[in-house]
Amino acid sequence: MAKCMAGDLLKETFPEAVRDIEEFRRETSITVDADHVREVMTFLKENEKLCYDLLLDLAGVDFDNRSPRFMIAYLLHSTKFNNKLRIKTTVAEGASLDTVSDIWLAADWMEREVYDMLGIIFNNHPNLKRILLPEDFIGHPLRKDFPVKGRDFDQPLQVCLEEER
């Protein structure tokens, strides 16, 4: 696995966007300012020395006691150089983030999942609606303040079919 040069390159190109670079057991994590996510991602994909052409995962985390509250982690892989990179960015409650689904098509459903579970809005997403939960579901269950049993756990479930309405 080639050494990851993304940290140095990003620091050179976007000094205002890179907040922090961590390295732990040969895994690099770069924290990026939320406003610059799109430029950084486009650079990471299209730069010939990096060529991160595959988005492995995109996940949201709720840190209930931190501000800004949410963190989005992008896990990138370069099939050319066979190395991985983690990009982190933070989103405040009620704020939104630019989509990367036009950079990596794989991000389309992943961003929908993050929206579904945490309620983070992705700007310019082609089809931002719930992907796992029923469309009439209220709330975002992976938020720490969401009750695990749901809000109407003790109520009988009403199922109304389309043809019965």
């Binding site: 939960l133 029923p134 695990v148 749901g150 756990f153 479930l157 199922v159 079919l161």
Partner: protein
């Protein structure tokens, strides 16, 4: 007992006998319990001994729905629709802890017992129940069908609801 009443009672017995020995289940497996249900139709357990080996891919041809597994809230409308598509007479076995009561999944996305949506005849608890459990459930259902009095269910059912 009059002659007519006796004839009706014995006719009902014949009908019950026919019904209870050919309970065709609809193919409906939701989670790991479905694997135990499949094993029940293998030669070792041989569900065919009870006349229930014909798992129908269409609910229109089925008499029994074995709800085998976790019913999620997203699946609930489909489950109800399949049940409504089955012609009368129809029965339901809730197979496994999840179908009976939600099981270990006390969460926002799991239906806490399939009896909230459709009427259940026999509950088979277990996580998952062994195939013998299903066979016992079918035998219990057969006993229940054999004891059904005349007039409880219509003899003929028509899809547009005007049952004769």
């Amino acid at each position: 007992m009059g002659v007519e009443a006796a004839a009706a009672a014995s006719l009902q017995e014949v009908i019950n006998w026919a019904r209870k020995n050919s309970i065709w289940p609809v193919t409906f497996g939701l989670a790991c319990c479905a694997l135990e249900m499949m094993v029940a139709s293998s030669s070792t357990y041989d569900i065919a001994r009870f006349g229930s080996e014909v798992f129908r891919p269409s609910p229109r041809q089925a008499d029994l729905m074995i709800v085998a597994g976790t019913v999620t809230r997203k699946m609930a409308p489909m489950l109800k629709r399949i049940y409504e598509q089955m012609p009368e007479p129809k029965w339901v076995i809730a197979y496994g802890a999840c179908a009976c009561s939600g099981g270990i999944f006390q969460t926002y996305n799991v239906v806490q017992g399939v009896d909230q949506i459709i009427p259940v005849d026999v509950y088979v608890p277990g996580c998952p129940p062994r195939p013998e459990g299903l066979l016992k459930g079918i035998i219990t259902l057969q006993e229940k069908i054999a004891a059904e009095p005349a007039g409880q269910r219509n003899l003929v059912s028509l899809p547009w609801g005007n049952n004769g």
